[in-house]
Structures are given as structure tokens and as C-alpha cells.
């Protein structure tokens, strides 16, 4: 009997704090209201809302993109470099493909390996085809597929709080972070 009570107590001790976050209703302005199913770079099924719980940098890209998309990754890395180790641990970086037809987990994984991305913090996600337009919609990204499979698209790095609310965005990409955006990232990481 004592052992049963002890294991119940243990379960509650683990479950309650985690459930606390999940039980809070999702804010009406959270992008996680769009609960889109995705596959990550290792082929694991996940959802957009699974990124909830940590401050996130989010963007959309595609692996065969030659112009700007490498700069999106550079921007994420550049921001990480400016953070303290403690800050870095609290930040997630989520890149969502706008080309799920070609960006299968193998293609995403190749990018992660080539750029040496720490997959404890970075996630490269492949949505369903029908979710690309809605995802771009909640993130304020515009894109158009061209006949040759390339994409014409805007590029932004979007800062989300732990509940998925958009705090800031920047279109200044590359190895030198937008200082105002970096300040917003730091502020978000310091919150709570």
C-alpha cells in the first residue's frame, strides 16, 4: 500500500508541473493554434505546437534554395553566438520547409549535418502540403512556387514567446544580427 502511494506521489510530482503548462489555455494570438502535424529531420512525427514551452526563432525555408535560405541558418547561428550558454539552452530554432514534396527527412537531415546544427535546440520540420499556406499565413511569410521548383519568398526570422505569441520579426539576415531583434530575443529569454 505504501509503495502504491509512493508511486502515485512520484507520478503526480512529475506529471503535474508538465501538465500545468499544457493545461493553461493556448493564447488566442498564439501561432500554435495552428496545430499542424509535421515530420522532423529524423523522420519523427511531431506537430508545430510541440515547440511550445520554449522561446523559439522560427522561419520558413527549403533545402534546395540557393540565395537566401543559407542566410536564414547563418542568422540563427549568429544569434546563438551572441547569447550566453544559459540563454542558448532556453532558445529553440525551428525551420519549416515550404517544399514538403522535396524536403523529406533525409534532405532536412543533410542540412542539419552540413551546418552542424545542435538538434537539441534546432528542428527542421516538414509539414503536409496543405499546411504550407496556412503556416506561412500565421507567420506572415509570402511565397510562390516557380515552374522549376524554386520558390520566390520573403524571409523573416520570427521570435515567439514560450506560448507561441509573435514578439518580434526581422528581415535583416546574415552573420550580423539585427541589434533590435537580438535585444528582443534576450528580453524574451529573460522573461519568466
Amino acid at each position: 500500500m505504501k509503495r502504491l502511494l509512493a508511486s502515485i506521489a512520484l507520478c503526480l510530482a512529475v506529471w503535474l508541473p508538465a501538465a500545468g503548462l499544457a493545461q493553461q489555455p493556448l493564447p488566442r494570438d498564439s501561432v500554435y493554434q495552428l496545430d499542424a502535424p509535421m515530420t522532423d529531420q529524423s523522420g519523427r512525427a511531431t506537430t508545430l505546437a510541440a515547440r511550445r514551452g520554449r522561446v523559439q526563432l522560427v522561419s520558413m525555408f527549403y533545402t534546395s534554395c540557393r540565395y537566401i535560405c543559407p542566410l536564414i541558418i547563418d542568422s540563427g547561428i549568429a544569434i546563438e553566438k551572441k547569447l550566453s550558454p544559459a540563454e542558448r539552452q532556453r532558445l529553440g530554432i525551428t525551420l519549416i520547409s515550404m517544399d514538403p514534396k522535396r524536403d523529406d527527412p533525409a534532405a532536412l537531415s543533410r542540412v542539419a549535418t552540413r551546418r552542424k546544427l545542435d538538434l537539441q535546440r534546432w528542428a527542421l520540420l516538414r509539414p503536409r502540403a496543405q499546411d504550407v499556406r496556412p503556416l506561412a499565413g500565421v507567420l506572415g511569410i509570402r511565397y510562390r512556387e516557380l515552374a522549376d521548383g524554386e520558390f520566390n519568398h520573403t524571409s523573416a526570422l520570427i521570435l515567439l514567446d514560450a506560448q507561441g505569441r509573435i514578439l518580434a520579426r526581422t528581415e535583416q539576415l546574415g552573420t550580423v544580427p539585427d541589434p533590435a531583434f537580438l535585444a528582443a530575443v534576450r528580453k524574451a529569454l529573460a522573461a519568466k
Binding site: 498564439s30 493554434q33 499556406r133 499565413g137 500565421v138 511569410i141 511565397y143 520566390n152 519568398h153 520573403t154
Partner: protein, 253 residues
């Protein structure tokens, strides 16, 4: 004789109702010279499709939100529909005096319009499908080169929007059989988010690859067609959760 007359008189209102609140119109598609200049093609190929004869009405949309309560005003998350969503309705499930049943529904976001169409087993039309359907006047499938036709459209755009919206279906059908693509409300397209426009029009045609990655901003094939320019400006200025008081939609499949 009198019985036949009586019967036909009975049928007339039914037919009129069918014509004005409309079903689906079949459009054959084909090659279409878009008013937008695409860097990768000259003509766009439009597959045969169906388009609603008239825009979705307040009554249609009310039925939808009753069946799908998460799309009611107040329940729909702000990320899908901004705070002015359906603000002209008296309540979340009540139309009221400012929203006549047969007026085209307005104050709806792209997400709400998209959800409505999916619930009908349909979708929003593509920009090219919409423009192809709208190129027609009452007698010609493509009237875009006619300056008189263009003036008619611009005349409508110049009317102040404070007067009450007419009911759907009052205008004559175009050569395809579709009504009110001009002269009633602006309409969402499924790929409104694909309209990439540079606000500085001195850059028209320049490949600003850094901003739009890959191809630069869209520019116009037909610079005299101000109506198309205005529609592009309108849709490209909106976020997917935005609403306006004269933007509605119809579905395609």
C-alpha cells in the same frame, strides 16, 4: 391554359432564386495570359474548374459557423481572424439589420474563407483562376483589352463604400455564367499569399533577390489595367488573418 400559366408563374420565383443564390459554374480553362508578369512563363495553363456563381452570403456563412462553432466571432483565435471579424453581425450567431442574409459576407479573413470552402468540399480559387473568370464581360470571354470595360470596373472602384452592399446575383452573369466578380466586393484567393509585390514601383522588374529570394517582385504585363493593379495591391497588403468591410469570397473546386 390557365393552369399552365399559373404553374409557370409559380416556377418563376423559384428559378430567380436559383439564379441569384447560385450553384456552381463550370469553366473550361485553357491558356491564359495573366496580367502579372511571371519570370518563368508567358501564359498560365488553367485546368477546367468550377466556380461558385455568386459570392458566399451572410446566410451561407451563418449556417457554417453554426455547424462549426470554433469559427464563431469571439471563439475564432485572433491568429486566424482579427478582432473585427464579422463585426457587422449583431452577434456571433445572429445577423441583425446590418447583415442581410443575401448580401455577400464580408469581414472574413483568409483563414475563415478557406475553412468555409473546405467545409463544402471545395477550396478558394487561385489568383489566376479568379482573374481568368473575371476577364469576361457579359458577351466576351476576355474583355480586358477593351478600355470601355476597364472604365466600367474603375467606375465601380471609385464609388464610395459607405452605401449598403447590394445582394448577390443582381448583376447580369458574365460570358462564363459567373456573377458579381466586379461591382460587388473584393474577393480572397487561395494563393493571395503568393503575391509578392515591391512597394517601391521603381523596382518593377528588378530582381531584388535579397528581398524575395529567387526571382524578385512580380511586375505587370499590362500596365494599363489599373483594376488588376488595384486587386494585386489590395490582396498583397493583407495578412491572412485580416478582414475588411468590402472583402468577401467565393469557392472553387
Amino acid at each position: 391554359m390557365r393552369r399552365t400559366l399559373a404553374l409557370s408563374l409559380l416556377l418563376l420565383p423559384v428559378l430567380a432564386l436559383a439564379a441569384s443564390t447560385g450553384g456552381w459554374v463550370r469553366l473550361p480553362g485553357g491558356n491564359f495570359r495573366s496580367a502579372l508578369k511571371y519570370e518563368d512563363r508567358n501564359q498560365v495553363r488553367i485546368a477546367p474548374f468550377q466556380l461558385m456563381e455568386t459570392a458566399v452570403t451572410n446566410a451561407d456563412f451563418l449556417a457554417f459557423v453554426k455547424r462549426h462553432p470554433k469559427w464563431q466571432r469571439g471563439k475564432a483565435p485572433v491568429v486566424f481572424a482579427e478582432d473585427r471579424y464579422l463585426q457587422h453581425w449583431a452577434g456571433p450567431t445572429t445577423l441583425g439589420a446590418q447583415a442581410q442574409p443575401n448580401q455577400p459576407v464580408v469581414n472574413v479573413s483568409w483563414f475563415a474563407a478557406d475553412a468555409y470552402c473546405r467545409a463544402q468540399g471545395a477550396r478558394l480559387p487561385d489568383w489566376n483562376e479568379w482573374e481568368y473568370a473575371a476577364a469576361a464581360d457579359e458577351t466576351r470571354l476576355d474583355a480586358r483589352k477593351d478600355p470601355v470595360w476597364r472604365e466600367r470596373i474603375l467606375g465601380w472602384y471609385a464609388r464610395p463604400s459607405r452605401s449598403a452592399l447590394p445582394r448577390v446575383g443582381l448583376q447580369a452573369a458574365n460570358a462564363h455564367g459567373v456573377r458579381d466578380l466586379h461591382g460587388l466586393v473584393w474577393e480572397w484567393t487561395g494563393d493571395a499569399g503568393s503575391l509578392l509585390v515591391d512597394v517601391d514601383n521603381r523596382k518593377q522588374g528588378d530582381a531584388d533577390k535579397a528581398k524575395f529570394c529567387g526571382a524578385g517582385a512580380l511586375s505587370m504585363n499590362d500596365r494599363d489595367n489599373y483594376a488588376v493593379l488595384m486587386r494585386v495591391a489590395m490582396l498583397s497588403s493583407l495578412e491572412a488573418n485580416d478582414v475588411t468591410a468590402n472583402l468577401g469570397f467565393r469557392c472553387a473546386k
